[in-house]
């Protein structure tokens, strides 16, 4: 169907500019050997995949490796992906990045501490000091350490909330697109985003508390005696 459409477009000389083409069309053109279409998809999604991977693994080098590998997987599957079942290729790539990030952690068996987070007071400021004479939220969120801490906190959210946030902020998908992708209503997606933001606050508070304890020389154990660590 898509191929016929493409053929007619070529015949009529009415092919749209690649940069404006839909993902569905770009996948079809890539499957027909048009590397320029693949390059448009790469430009459209590489940075998004890198950001998602960075949230997942917390390391720039590994995030690049994962984003690159995700694209290679897309290319290897391009003949099966055509015709693309959803309007956007992003959800498919998103899932691949998630799997690659899990593989990454299985290999590394890594449990990361939160010792590189910013000052705990600064973290708490993010949500609690808007009316104080201290820094405004805009100034606080502009700090690199705070941004890194937020990405770290995102990695600890419940999966369904995190997915909605990633689709919205990284994939820049509309509420309707997310709803279709995860099989929920638009209202439910809004609710997930709402709960995700509130949970982010809780996570950041926990990170700040843990950091305070660590700086005081506490053992870093909770009331049950379990070591408090951030698992990705």
């Amino acid at each position: 169907m898509v191929s016929t459409f493409l053929f007619l477009q070529v015949l009529l000389g009415g092919r749209p500019a690649l940069a404006q083409a839909s993902d569905r069309e770009l996948v079809a053109r890539t499957a027909h050997g048009e590397s320029a279409a693949l390059e448009v998809l790469h430009k459209r999604y590489y940075a998004k995949l890198y950001k998602l991977a960075l949230v997942k693994v917390g390391n720039e080098d590994d995030a690049h490796d994962i984003a690159s590998e995700a694209f290679v997987r897309a290319v290897q599957n391009v003949l099966k992906l055509d015709p693309l079942s959803s309007a956007s290729l992003y959800p498919w790539l998103h899932t691949v990045v998630q799997h690659l990030a899990v593989d990454h952690y299985r290999r590394a068996a890594q449990v990361e501490s939160v010792s590189d987070t910013p000052e705990s007071g600064e973290l708490l400021s993010l949500f609690e000091r808007i009316e104080d004479p201290g820094p405004q939220p805009e100034e606080i969120v502009a700090r690199k350490q705070v941004q890194a801490a937020v990405r770290q906190a995102l990695g600890t959210l419940p999966e369904v909330q995190a997915q909605a946030i990633y689709y919205r902020f990284i994939g820049e998908m509309s509420l309707a697109e997310i709803a279709a992708e995860i099989g929920k209503s638009e209202g439910a997606v809004k609710s997930l985003l709402h709960r995700g933001m509130l949970n982010l606050r809780v996570r950041i508070r926990e990170m700040a508390e843990q950091q305070r304890r660590t700086r005081r020389g506490d053992t870093g154990r909770d009331v049950h005696g379990d070591t408090i660590t951030v698992h990705r």
Partner: protein
Amino acid sequence: MSTEILSQYIDELLAGRERPLQEYLLKHPDQREELLPLLVGALAVHRSLKAAEPAPSREEAARRRAVEELAKVLADRDDLTHQGALTRLVARLKRALGGGG
């Protein structure tokens, strides 16, 4: 209601229309307490992801790798077509006739 406002705020952020947070909160004074952590959270997520841009050299290397992979995939696919089968048949005939290849 706060869920709706959060949703609109995210829309504005993604559209590149980032207004001062205080100004936005003043529009909804009755819900300020509830909105504050939501909007600050959305702003923090937006800024932290926006700031994490990939290194151009790594992006370019990844692009080249993807294009090379596409060439391999298409070569493998073409080899399964009638043309590929014909090429293999000719090669086998040449070998059978002692013509090398």
